[in-house]
Amino acid sequence: MQSNSGRKKIESIIILALFIFLVISAIGVLWVKHLFAAAMFSGIFSFLSALLFVMLDAVDVAFTEAAVGAGVSTILVLGTIVLTTERAKEWKASDNLRPLLLVILTGAILIYGSLDMPEFGSISAPAQTHVGLTYLESTPKDIGIPNVVTAVLASYRGFDTLGETAVVFTAGVGVLMLLGGFIRTRSRRDRG
């Protein structure tokens, strides 16, 4: 029991430190004028949130955040910088007053909403009392794999995941049409 509470304390210190770094990198994104540095800050932001997900035992989400958020999106942002411009537009501090008020208001509403949520890891949280328990109990005998996340994603909710895959496909086709990804390959094949 003693070691468990000690571990909890260390965990909360690490989470707090990660959150502080998260805020610093978010301010960094806004602060720097050079967009390359801003892209790097947003990559750091993604990596820190991936670490936070690991601390919350959501390793699958951390995986995705590290690969998509920190890896691929940073590269796509860099690609956009190559296409557009390297420096942010100049702005006056007074222009930011209204957006700042809006952000503070939205943040206050979100924090107010979070007061209603059950405590982190609480046994009586809806996530623990509804279908979650059923999945945890029936996965070993229905499917027999240790990773319940995969079981829910691919088997119990297989139809949803089929829809998700179709969404990824459709989004990809849409982005390629916007970027002209299809046209260029055809012209290249004609040349070659």
């Binding site: 590269i75 499917i143 794999i145 088997s155 995941t161 990824v168 990809g172 390629l176």
Partner: protein
Amino acid sequence: MIQALVLKVITKLMVGFIILFALYVQFHGDYSPGGGFQAGVIFAAAFILYGMVMGLQNVERVLPPWLTHKLMALGVIIYTLVGIYSFFVGYNFLDYGALSPAHPEHGQHYGILLVEFGVGVTVAGVVISIYYAFVNRSKTSKEDE
């Protein structure tokens, strides 16, 4: 293309391991964290890294754009075919028990493996295609200037 020798050597070393890790995340998803989506992105990241360091022409020789476009659709087709197969054998849509009627549990394993493979193929195809489109576009806009 970057002329840095160290980057090129390290990239050549890394790409193999990144793809190996992607395959591990893909096919070991039943037992460890990860699955098709994560594996697809890691797989794509290996090719994007190679493309960034070695130049677009070289990576397009390995994985041409027309192939990544086909991969995008292929993944969804694999996923749907698993569902349609179970349909025709007399089970519900996407009921993986159909893949091994004697041992429904094994059928679940096969089904999850196939379906996750479909997800991985689509995600890898989409991410690599978008990367190609971005780089091609920045190249043509440079030529226009």
